[in-house]
Amino acid sequence: MDAGAPLTLPPGFSDWFAGRGWSPREHQLAMVEKVRQGRDALLIAPTGGGKTLAGFLPSLIELTERPPANAPRGVHTLYISPLKALAVDIERNLATPIAEMGLPIKAESRTGDTGVSRRQRQRVKPPDILLTTPEQLALFLAWEGARLFFEDLRCIILDEIHAIRPSKRGDLLALGLARLAKFAPDCRRIGLSATVDDPDLIRAWMSAGGGKDGVDLVLGQSGALPVVDMLLVEGQVPWTGHTARHAMAEVYEAIRRARTALVFVNTRFQAEFAFQELWRLNDEGLPIALHHGSLSAEQRRRVEAAMARGALRAVVCTSTLDLGIDWGDVDLVIQLASPKGAARMVQRIGRANHRLDEPSRALFVPANRFEMLECQAAREAIAENALDKELARSGALDVLAQHIMGLACSEPFDLVEVYDEIRTAEPYKDLTWEDFEAVVDFVATGGYALRVYDRFARIVKGLDGRWRARNADTALRHRLNVGAIYSPAMLAVRVAGRRGTAGRKIGEVEEGYLEVLEPGDAFIFAGRTWRLVGVTGVDVLVAPAEGQEAKMPSWGGSKFALSTFLARRVREMMSEPAHWSVLPWDVREWLELQRDHSSIPSTDEMLLETFPRGHRHFLVGYPFEGRLAHTTLSLLLTRRLARAGVGPLGFVANDYAFAVWALRPMDGLDMADLFAEDMLGDDLESWLAESAMMRGSFKACALISGLIERRFPGDQKKSGRQISFSTDLVYDVLRRHQPEHLLLRCAREDAAHGLIDAARLGDLLQRIKGRILHRALPHLTPFSVSVMMEIGKQSSPGDARDQILAAAEADLVAEALA
């Protein structure tokens, strides 16, 4: 930085800082300076470092200093947050400095929940600072007059940019930024991000077509490294399981000793389970609450408000609380079961203690022995400040289709100009003209080889050569369906009234969430036990069932895969016996037994074990690449094993291992051949095309791209059930008649990327080439117990089932140690 004049704030601002007993932080001054120089800047700072204020200070100063105008002006600063609640919260937080300094500035939020009158007023008389979400920006940009509305824009602030970048919402936002740059070429961009492994990735992403060098990096003072402890329970660490039930008494004790604790878990069912268990132990009646994505919005808001008031001692939550509002009082973060990734863990731990000079405190509670290794690896990574690698992504074409339709709804556009504009958005910088044309053709007439829809085109080319929406109705319908979050249709959970009528609503669940339950089954939801009465249309009817034994669907663990980075650290730690000394004795003993009975693979090796058990033959592998990649691998292996004539019968997978069982022995198979990389060719394609995942991806792409509309004028309900035909039928027909259609391409890429982790599987197969360590053994091994216990367990381990499992587990352990 230039060592010239010392950085200062205007008098009113420095007085305000002084009045609060603060002095501006270096990075706050640096941001003011960057903006004065007309530079775009990315600020990376831990939570609690005054990051938000640093983002807004330059705008507050500029707005205060600008000369009065005769005519009303447009929006000066646009703030974009990934969370609606965060935008509203920031609006509240900004009110304090604005009021206390008496600044002539109006800051207002606008989200999907904003009332109609405020929305209308905002369009006519824009606030100086507008706080909103990527979806709302897309909606603004699809309005006629968007250009006028944003032509005075001077600054865009992108909050939690690391969370939004690698997603379709990030793609949508990047396209929106490219458009805003056309309307207001002098507008600067400010990015705010948590600590990441590779800031350059974000600099390039938020740059206005200038690559990473177009954006300056400002680093906030890094806080004290967090103190992460691991909960070690007297007695044995379980061999299997994901609930950490064995440790609940200690978790309760930790909550009791803390001021306020956040208890993170990986799935909603784990949240419900932990909440129940904690209340069972809650003799002191501590205010412990529950927060996850299936609870109704009002219920979540109530918990958040109670938290903000300091009225709670603990909240059991899922990733719904990973981001967001600052709660100063949280002094302990507990992670129940495995953390899955170092970066997510740092983010979660950052929710505790927002004072920079004191370290945040966290407690890991591993639920089984592999998780013990994982937690230890995560602790070491955090202590070294080493985080998961992130990947660049190329922009999704279904999102591009939505954006192009939006452009046409706003004003007529020229094809070549728009192509150039889109390529200034980083995710689309390599977009080919062919793909661009294909997307435009799709938007216009569906992109079909059979050209029969020209007269129904949604966008049309005028005599001036520019494209525009077909008519006002088409534009109106597009605006109703803007957005890049595809959420599965939600069903309302309601208490059943007399004669099966629907009563009070207690929450919402995704379609398919309760698929494994039969009417009459009990399950835990919103912290209580309910009996499923039935499903009618858009309602799930339930009746109270206190005391009835509850089933636990989706028991099997996390929706997040173990990160590549953390998996590698686990493998490294495992392969170095000298490193084992940091582990508790029973885990050490387990590793030694595995070494004696089978083998411990080196870092890049994959251990494969084959052994007979009962009347079956098992093949167990330990790639440590996450459940998704393992599931895909098992599916493909099963096909190969069928061709090899060993009669495969089934498989299970968890984050660390997979097991396939078959009628005949597999000891003699050529393992190198079995795991050859060509597995990812035709087998993968043909399996994927038939899979439910592809159908799911296709539906999401069809909705995002605008092929299918979910909402119609005059019908503002958000239910996804109004689609009056099945997208599966459309998928089947399209696949047979035009397999190369744009949307099938999109769906395939999404499925390969997100749902089956094909890339990671490809890396695995490459890594283990010539490095497969195969052991043909007489019986199962210490490592294999965990995955063997998953067999038949996924569906419904209630209390009774747990006991059966515990008995079965004891048998397996005895056998492994024989």
Binding site: R477, I708, E709, V733
Partner: protein, 226 residues
């Protein structure tokens, strides 16, 4: 692959075959019956702004042609709602119209009126009627509310949900009457447990669920709601 098999059933004393395609085959009369083909449903949506792939009519016709080839019916009965709307025939691609005309060669097409297509096609060959009596069976589009001996109808698009299989189209019968699955590529489905279907059938209900090459008889108790 082996020849697709049908499932032999008896409706009101008449032997019929439920085909995996969703068509009903009445061998004694050489009659092939399909319900709710909904030709040009795709273009109907396109006209209102949702550009569904324009391949549904071709897809539906291919399945019908396959059945005509396999069974050589003397008569093909469209059991109502063969056309998605009044404008469907006008939107029909010439090639598709030619395929329908070809199906009429050497046999009779019967267009039973449905609620989507009360008038039937204007320019295509075939007889138009409200109901058709065939060997003691009454073929009609919309099933009546009252018990109806020998009624064979469509309209309700029955489908069944079977554990770990998901939703499939199906025939449903109580031995006295039968409701056919929709034959059209884009036709949606109504779960057979829905009161609209359930209340029209007697106690001995059986779903004949379409598999890829077979039709599976599934007892009522094994069927689930959505």
């Amino acid at each position: 692959m082996s020849e697709p098999e049908g499932l032999s059933l008896v409706v009101s004393g008449v032997a019929v075959t439920a085909r995996p395609s969703g068509a009903l085959w009445i061998a004694a009369r050489g009659a092939l019956v399909i319900a709710d083909a909904h030709f040009e449903k795709g273009s109907a949506y396109a006209a209102r702004g949702q550009l569904l792939p324009p391949y549904d009519t071709a897809e539906t016709l291919s399945r019908l042609e396959g059945e005509a080839e396999a069974l050589s019916p003397r008569v093909i009965v469209f059991l109502g709602d063969a056309w998605h709307d009044g404008g469907a025939e006008a939107r029909l691609a010439p090639a598709a119209a030619a395929r329908i005309a070809a199906l009429a060669r050497g046999r009779t097409l019967v267009w039973i009126a449905g609620n989507h297509d009360p008038a039937g096609p204007k320019d295509l060959p075939g007889d138009r009627c409200e109901t058709l009596a065939l060997d003691g069976l009454i073929l009609v589009h919309e099933p009546g509310e009252a018990p109806a001996q020998g009624e064979v109808a469509g309209h309700l698009h029955p489908c069944a949900r079977v554990a770990s299989v998901g939703r499939r189209r199906c025939f449903i019968t109580d031995g006295q009457r039968m409701i056919l699955p929709a034959f059209g590529a884009y036709a949606g489905g109504l779960n057979v447990r829905d009161p609209a279907i359930r209340r029209r059938l007697g106690p001995r209900k059986l779903a004949a669920v379409l598999g890829s090459a077979r039709v599976h008889p599934i007892p009522w108790r094994a069927l689930r709601g959505d």
